[in-house]
Assembly symmetry: C2
Homo-oligomer: 376 residues x 2
C-alpha cells in the first residue's frame, strides 16, 4: 500500500511515471543502462520497478559508484553473470515513496543501498546481522529477488525499490556523491578492521590503493593504526601519504618486500587481480591476520609449514551486514570520512572510459556516476 508520494501518478509509462491500472498502482517505469552479453556495450534500457510494498522504500537514485565487480560481472569473469544485467551496487539517493509499515524513513530522506536488497531475515546469519551471508540473500544486481523469478537490476538506473531493512541513512554531513562508494568499498574494508579489532597498536598493511584500498587506509588511520600501503604502482606513494599512511612499499621491488617480512599484524588484500600472495603473506607478523576482500581469480597457495610456524589467520570478508553498514556510515560521519571520487556523467561512453581506466589502475580512487542528471 502506498501511503504517500511525490511522484505524479498517471496511466502513461513515461520516465519516472507510475503504471496505473484501474487505480491499482504496481510499478514505475525506470530507466538504466544494461549489459546484454559479455561483448555488448552498455545500452539504455527501460524496465519496471515495483512500487513500494508495505515495508519497501522507493528511492530516486542520485549517484552510483563504479566497482571493479561491475567489470567482472560484465565480462563474466566469475562465470555467474546473468544478462540482461544492470550493474551498480553503490547507490545513494533520496526517498521518493515509502510503504505503510516503513518506520525509519520519510520522503526526502537521504539514503543508501549497497550490495544486497533482501534476505530471509530469519536464518542464523540474518539473526547475527550478517544478512550478506544469508543463503537466500538477493544481490542488488545480477541477482534474483526472493520470488525466485524477478531479476534484480542495479544502480545504473534512476529508481530502485528496496525493503526498508536494506536501506541505510546517509548522515547529513556526508555528500551523497562521495558517500555512494561507502556502501560497498567502505563497508567491505570497515567490517574486517572492526572484526579483528584494528586499533592503536595495529601495524596495518593495505595491499592495493584503489577504491577499496584507499578506504582501508582512511579507516585504519581513523582507528589509530600505523598504516602502510603496498602497491604495484610507484606513483601511488604520494597518495598513500596524503591519505594518512605512514609508509609505502613498492610491491614489484622484491628486495624491499622481503625487508618487510614479519611486519604486519593485519594485512588487508584489496586487489582483485592475480598477484604474489605468498610474498604478501610473508609480511605478516606472528599470529597476524591476512584478510582478502578483493576476489582474485587465482587460488592462493599456502604452505602448511607457514601456517604451523607463523600461526596466522587467513581469512576473507564480504561487505557487511545492515547494522554494521549503518555503523560504518555513522563512523564516517563522526570522522568526516568519504570516498575520494571522480564524478562522471552517466553515459555509456563515460562508463566505458571509467572501466578502461579502472583496468589500467588509472584511478584516484572511485568513479561515481551522476545518475540524477542523466535520467531527468
Amino acid at each position: 500500500m502506498i501511503i504517500s508520494s511525490s511522484l505524479n501518478i498517471s496511466t502513461s509509462t513515461h520516465r519516472g511515471d507510475i503504471n496505473d491500472d484501474d487505480n491499482f498502482e504496481s510499478s514505475i517505469a525506470a530507466e538504466g543502462y544494461v549489459i546484454n552479453s559479455v561483448s555488448a556495450p552498455l545500452k539504455l534500457f527501460t524496465f519496471e520497478r515495483r512500487l513500494p510494498n508495505d515495508d519497501d522504500v522507493l528511492i530516486r537514485i542520485y549517484y552510483c559508484g563504479i566497482c571493479h565487480t561491475d567489470i567482472h560481472q560484465w565480462k563474466n569473469n566469475w562465470e555467474h553473470s546473468n544478462y540482461p544485467l544492470v550493474p551498480g551496487h553503490e547507490i545513494t539517493g533520496v526517498v521518493e515513496r515509502v510503504g505503510s509499515n516503513v518506520k525509519r524513513f520519510r520522503i526526502g530522506d537521504r539514503v543508501g543501498v549497497g550490495f544486497i536488497v533482501d534476505s530471509c531475515l530469519s536464518c542464523k546469519n540474518c539473526g547475527n546481522n550478517l544478512e550478506q551471508h544469508c543463503p537466500d540473500a538477493s544481490y542488488t544486481c545480477n541477482g534474483i529477488e526472493r520470488d525466485k523469478v524477478t531479476p534484480t537490476y542495479g544502480g545504473y538506473s534512476n529508481f530502485i525499490t528496496v525493503k526498508e531493512h536494506f536501506v541505510c541513512k546517509i548522515p547529513k554531513n556526508l555528500p551523497l556523491d562521495a558517500a555512494a562508494p561507502l556502501l560497498c568499498a567502505g563497508i567491505t574494508t570497515y567490517s574486517p578492521l572492526r572484526e579483528y579489532n584494528v586499533g592503536k597498536s595495529t601495524r596495518l598493511g593495505v595491499i592495493g590503493l584503489g577504491g577499496l584500498g584507499h578506504m582501508a587506509v582512511k579507516f585504519g588511520v581513523a582507528m589509530g593504526a600505523h598504516v602502510t600501503v603496498i602497491s604495484r604502482s610507484r606513483s601511488k606513494c604520494f597518495d598513500a601519504v596524503k591519505l594518512g599512511a605512514k609508509a609505502f612499499i613498492y610491491s614489484k621491488d622484491e628486495e624491499k618486500l622481503k625487508l618487510a617480512d614479519d611486519s604486519f599484524d593485519f594485512i588487508m588484500d584489496t586487489t582483485s587481480v592475480v598477484h604474489n600472495v605468498v610474498a604478501m603473506m610473508n609480511m605478516l607478523a606472528f599470529k597476524g591476520v591476512y584478510c582478502m576482500v578483493g576476489a582474485s581469480p587465482k587460488s592462493v597457495e599456502i604452505a602448511p609449514f607457514f601456517l604451523i610456524a607463523k600461526r596466522p589467520i587467513i581469512t576473507g570478508s564480504l561487505i557487511g551486514g545492515m547494522k554494521e553498514t549503518q555503523e560504518m556510515l555513522d563512523f564516517c560521519s563522526k570522522h568526516e570520512i568519504t570516498c575520494e571520487i571522480e564524478k562522471i556523467e552517466a553515459t555509456p561512453k563515460q562508463i566505458q572510459m571509467a572501466y578502461d581506466r579502472i583496468l589500467k589502475s588509472n584511478i584516484r580512487f572511485r568513479f561515481v556516476l551522476d545518475i540524477i542528471n542523466a535520467f531527468k
Copy 2:
C-alpha cells in the same frame, strides 16, 4: 653446581657414569640411537650429556614416543636434517639430578620433555608463554643448543639434561609410558582446541586418526564437543567410535565427503601426507576454523572466493608453550587421558618396524620405545 646425585661418580666414562676431571664434573656418558644419513639405519651411539648447570635437570629417560616427525627428519623430508641425529621428542623419565637453583623438581620426580629444551625466555613470544615460537628456541633433537655449537640429541637415549623451565611434571595417575606422547601429540592437538575455545557447542572434525588424531578425539570428547573422525582408512571407524567420536567419514568416498559440506565449526587436520585439503575445507561451516597441525609437504590451494564467502579462519599450530603443556598434562590427569600406545623394545630393528608400520598407517596409535630396559 651439583647439589645432589643418585649416580655413582667415577673417572671412567662407562654407560651412565660421570666424567670427572679433577673433581670438576662436567658431563655424563650417554647412549642412544643415531641416524648418520638419509639412507643409514639407526645405530648405537655414545655421546656426552652435560651435567646439570644451576637451573638444569638431569633426567633418566624411561620412555620415548615415536612421532612421524622422526621419520621426516631421518628422510630429510623437510630439508633441514642435521646428521648425526638422535631422534625423539616425546620423553618421560625420572629426575636423576638437579642444579642448585632448581625449584620445581627433586630427585625421583616423574617428568616429561617435549619438542623444545631451551629458548631465550626474554622475547615477546617467550613472555607470552609461547616459547616454541622463540626465534632462538632449541629443539630437543635435530637442533642446536643456545651456545650455537652443541647439537641437541633427542630421546632415543638414556639420559637428557634440560633446563628446568622446559621440564614438565607428569601427574601421578598417568603412567610414564602412555604419557610420553602427550609431550608432542598431546600438546599439539590440545593447544589449538583451547585457543579456539572448542567446547560443548562445537562440531569438531578430526582428519586422520594416528598419534595426533586420536589425541584430538580424546581431548575433543573431554571438552564436550561433537566429534567426527575423517579418515582414509575405513578400518579406523571402529576405533573412532571407541575413542568417543560420534561420527565417521571415509574420506575416499567423495560423495559422502560432499554431504558433509558446511558441517564443522572446527576441523583439525592432523595428516602429514598429501591429501585433498580443498574438499576438507569445504566441510567447514560458515566462519569455521581449519587448523593444520600435520605438516603436509604440499602447499594448500585456497580460492579467494572461498575465503570471502565462507569467512573461515585458516591457521596452523605448533605444539604449545611450557605453561600450556603442563596445563594439558593436568587436564589429562583430571580426565584420565593418556595415549593409546604400543610399547616396543628400543632396538634398531623394532624402531625400523615401527617406522614401516607408521608409513603404512598401520598403527593404533603411537609407538613408545621402552628406553629404560634398553640401556641398563
